[in-house]
């Protein structure tokens, strides 16, 4: 063989070795028989990441034959990242996500139906309404384990000075009462409330349950249909009136995210901000010295204090060769004491009834007790499992609600767009 050809052959071999050496094709089991599972977690706050990693260490120490590798995921683009991994057969064995992201994966056959794998303890410990958030077409495709209600965070000093009745989970404000209190708290450049509605759809839908609305209705065939009824107008109408008629809600906040309202809240510009329960962590971290704040339940309406949630979930990839072991790990991760650790790390509520009863989640400090008391009123988010919801949300509902809340369109136009335009979108997904 001529020297040049020999050199080229050697280079090609080296390249091939280099390429093949860059990854492995194992089936998740080592040469000594140890099973290796990958757990992709979306935990991001330090306490939460620490709790997850510590639990993985504890599992690995107790189960030398089934080792779990912690993989840090990210909420940013998680759907596309998982979809690509599923399509390429490279998905993690155990998947952390949110229940409103699971429908496409469940219907697409990427996730394991857990019904026959879940231990009775776990099944019984999590309430039926939480299981409904991960049930698609009769199968259960994830274990809901953390959730957060939306609450009102209020400036204690301003609230007390206003003389308003302090609401409790047992006796929350009605939406009309909330509107009146917001007006009372509004004065001299200060607004009673700031509604951070850069993403208005989930807030509107989830709080809308308390008004007796639900927007998405199922016909006997299981097809979803949009209707905008009297109950749907309670929350939407209150917000619109607060911004445009009462001027008790800051117009500028309509374009904000939750975190953006905090400086104004700490500075006394807003007396109350409706936020997710987990925002308390940011408030604890960022509030000025001596700033007193309190956690109040969201207002209740004809639908009671109900509100919709999309819990965080743990699922098992359909391609995983070790589904039983993956479920055993999930069962370990979600044992009541461990679920409490995860909940405290994320400043959220556990779905499990035993974990929820833990004394550390019933303290008045940082409003834990208020949130815990709301847990029994949490329901699956109205659009959960509706195919076509993401498109309806982005193309129809977000601009329509933004225009409605800012006063640019009236209720009739909002209804026309949400319902008429919306049903056309859903029809394409339900043929």
């Amino acid at each position: 063989m001529p020297a040049l050809a020999r050199r080229m052959a050697a280079a090609a071999t080296a390249l091939a070795l280099l390429l093949t050496g860059c990854s492995s094709t194992d089936d998740g089991r080592d040469a000594d028989g140890t099973i290796r599972l990958r757990f992709q977690s979306l935990a991001w706050q330090k306490e939460s990441v620490d709790a997850n990693k510590q639990l993985v260490r504890e599992w690995n120490a107790a189960h030398p034959d089934v080792q779990v590798e912690y993989v840090q995921g990210s909420w940013d683009n998680v759907h596309d990242q998982l979809l690509t991994s599923f399509e390429g057969g490279e998905a993690p064995d155990i998947i952390h996500d949110a229940s409103d992201d699971l429908a496409d994966f469940a219907y697409g056959g990427y996730l394991t139906d857990l019904r026959s794998l879940l231990p009775d303890r776990l099944k019984a410990d999590i309430p039926e309404q939480s299981w409904r958030t991960t049930t698609f077409d009769g199968g259960i495709y994830g274990v809901p384990f953390l959730q957060e209600p939306r609450v009102l965070i209020a400036n204690t000093k301003l609230l007390k000075a206003s003389g308003a009745r302090i609401p409790t989970p047992e006796r929350p404000w009605s939406w009309a009462e909330f509107r009146e209190v917001s007006k009372t708290l509004t004065e001299n450049g200060r607004y009673g409330v700031a509604w951070p509605l850069r993403e208005p759809v989930s807030v509107t839908l989830n709080l809308g349950l308390s008004g007796g609305g639900q927007l998405f209705h199922r016909d006997p065939d299981g097809k979803a249909e949009l209707r905008f009824e009297a109950g749907d107008q309670v929350v939407t109408g209150t917000i619109r009136d607060q911004v445009n008629s009462d001027r008790s809600a800051a117009r500028t906040a309509l374009g904000m995210g939750g975190s953006d309202t905090l400086p104004g809240f700490f500075g006394g510009r807003y007396a109350m901000v409706p936020l997710g329960f987990a925002y308390r962590q940011q408030i604890v971290e960022q509030a000025p010295e001596g700033f007193a704040w309190t956690v109040l339940p969201a207002p209740a309406g004809p639908g009671g204090p109900a509100q919709g949630v999309s819990p965080q979930t743990l699922s098992v990839a359909e391609d995983s060769p070790y589904k039983k072991d993956a479920v055993a790990f999930i069962d370990f991760l979600l044992r009541p004491p461990n679920m409490v650790r995860l909940a405290r790390g994320d400043w959220m509520l556990p779905t499990g009834t035993t974990a929820l009863a833990h004394p550390s989640l019933h303290t008045a400090e940082h409003g834990w007790a208020t949130g815990t008391a709301l847990a029994k009123h949490l329901r699956p988010a109205p659009a959960q499992a509706v195919r076509g919801y993401p498109e309806w949300k982005d193309k129809v509902a977000t601009p329509a609600l933004q225009e409605y809340y800012s006063g640019a369109i009236d209720t009739a136009e909002l209804r026309r767009r949400l319902v008429d335009d919306g049903n056309r979108v859903l029809a394409r997904y339900q043929r």
Binding site: L42, W44, S74, Q81, G88, E90, S259
Partner: protein, 279 residues
């Protein structure tokens, strides 16, 4: 209405330039300011440029929580390799595209332009499958390959423009002196193209350094992840962020690009001026 005098016009120009520079610098300076602010100052209604109580806690926390150095090293390897490989491949290709006009070259140029319009999500799944078959998932080599392919079209387009600016008379003179095609390309054209090559390499570097989605999808294990992916670990659901450590880490992430620009900007602008006086 009388036109402003020369001095007034110049002062106006400087003022406009200054305003533009401040506008450009604002995000970076704000990032810098945020990186040194304690958590309580981040929530202030009246934020200040200079932190009242500057702290390194955000940097400490960022390094404690995430493997930033490892991620920076991965990003550097991927970006430098992608830039070097891209210009090595693109230079001779750009020469052919610029010098040999014909239907094929026109079609190739058109395809290069069109390929820039492909969204990431359109190509990611086929790309993922191809890389999986090559055993290049969760491999920096796989990522580098993607970055090279991704930056090649624009690099080609950019370099072809630089090649057209090189007078063909120089090549003809080299040919008269007996130089072959390769020798002409290496000894005559390449030195004149140096500013263009550097600018193109810089473009490929920055593209790869900042790229997030491919890295997110293709790299699985923490020790392989690049800086943009690790930065997202400071973000929670619904846009909630651990702002201080995120700003500290993002500030560190911008430094390599800034340093690189500082070193080679004279070269690039020098090359541009050289081209401008051609004639």
């Amino acid at each position: 209405m009388s036109l402003p005098t020369g001095r007034a016009a110049r002062a106006g120009q400087y003022l406009a330039l200054l305003a533009y520079l401040v506008f450009l610098a604002f995000p970076f300076l704000w990032l810098l300011s945020t990186a040194f602010k304690p958590a309580r100052e981040l929530g202030s209604l009246h934020p200040t440029w200079i932190p009242d109580d500057p702290t390194l806690d955000n940097f400490r926390q960022a390094f404690d929580e995430q493997p930033l150095l490892q991620a920076a090293a991965n990003s550097l390897i991927a970006a430098v390799s992608a830039a070097l490989i891209a210009v090595t491949i693109a230079t001779p290709m750009a020469y052919v595209m610029a010098r040999h006009r014909g239907r094929l070259a026109t079609a190739a140029t058109g395809w290069v332009v069109v390929s820039q319009a492909f969204p990431f999500v359109l190509v990611i799944i086929p790309l993922f499958l191809v890389l999986k078959n090559l055993h290049l998932i969760n491999s920096l080599w796989g990522l580098i390959l993607v970055y090279v392919v991704w930056s090649l079209p624009f690099a080609l387009w950019m370099l072809a423009g630089y090649v057209r600016a090189v007078p063909t008379e120089l090549e003809e003179a080299a040919a008269v002196d007996g130089a072959g095609r390769v020798r002409t390309l290496v000894s005559v054209v390449a030195p004149l193209l140096a500013p263009g090559i550097v600018a193109t390499a810089l473009f490929a570097f920055i593209t790869a350094w900042n790229e997030f989605f491919f890295a997110l999808v293709l790299l699985k294990t923490p020790e392989k992840q690049t800086l943009p992916v690790v930065l997202t670990h400071f973000l929670g659901a619904e846009g909630v962020a651990d702002l201080g450590p995120l700003a500290a880490a993002a500030f560190l992430a911008t430094l390599p690009s800034l340093v690189l620009f500082a070193f080679i900007q004279r070269r690039i602008t020098g090359g541009m001026t050289t081209g401008a006086v051609r004639g």
